[in-house]
Subunit: 129 residues, 2 copies
DNA sequence: TAACTGTACTATATGTCATAATACAGTTGA
DNA sequence: TCAACTGTATTATGACATATAGTACAGTTA
């Protein structure tokens, strides 16, 4: 399920957070589902348990998951809504990125077309419930 | 001219590269223009000279600027074209970002509108020659 | 009771970033 | 010629984030 690239510039714990967010948003991990334990996932990915816990801790802090000591970690009921709000902040990044492309002389239609492609790829992927 | 935020997560040398790229693309720094010297810019920004040199070295390697030992650094003649190609790679980033937003349930029209805003802000900014 | 769960802690290693201090060779103008 | 600039190179040092390693504790479950 999870995959990790140790050679990536992006920290491993961020990769795990990012993947878990996508699993929740795409419905692969539904609210209430128990996540793989810190130790089992660390062994599966050949990664230190502390790295997994760092990812889980941050998601727990944000309310996306919740942990029950002695039992395990679970996807929160309002995880999808929380992630929706969280991802909305990326609109600012997209705005900056579009400004960069405008400055570099890339045509507006080309950028708009890229957005269209991203959305059609998403729809065809059957990720809409 | 240049500004630096030491507290930013983005490395200082990357900030300088980014700003210089924007100055070139916006016409503030034209081809042939001599850049501030490593030492003078380091003093102006209260930054170590090595940090400036790291930024200049990378831009020199990419051909955006060229350096003449004993004289100084200058904006290359084909800098704008080089930067155009370089920035085009960001279309891939924008594609990924748009997919993220689609997955998070943000409406396509909202994303398209953000792109429109970025381009209209660019035009009104008078950055087109 | 054994085996699992999350959590906490210290120590260590690594790589990137930035600073500090020199040093060298080339250019320029007084 | 000489002082003052230019880019370039080198070594040492410190701060910081990331990741690993090992250990430990408390709660849960079959």
């Amino acid at each position: 399920m999870f995959q990790v690239d140790t050679m990536s510039r992006q920290p491993v714990y961020e990769q795990i957070i990012h993947q878990l967010e996508r699993f929740v948003l795409s419905g692969v991990l539904k609210p209430g589902t128990q996540l793989p334990s810190v130790r089992s996932l660390s062994m599966e990915l050949s990664i230190n348990p502390n790295t997994i816990q760092k990812a889980y801790s941050e998601l727990d802090l944000r309310g996306v998951i919740y942990s029950v000591p002695g039992i395990g970690c679970f996807v929160s009921e309002n995880a999808v809504a929380l992630l929706g709000e969280h991802k909305r902040e990326n609109l600012g990044l997209l705005y900056q990125l579009a400004q960069e492309l405008a400055l570099a002389g890339i045509a507006k239609d080309e950028v708009l077309h890229t957005v269209e492609q991203a959305y059609s790829a998403h729809d065809k992927g059957g990720n809409t419930i």
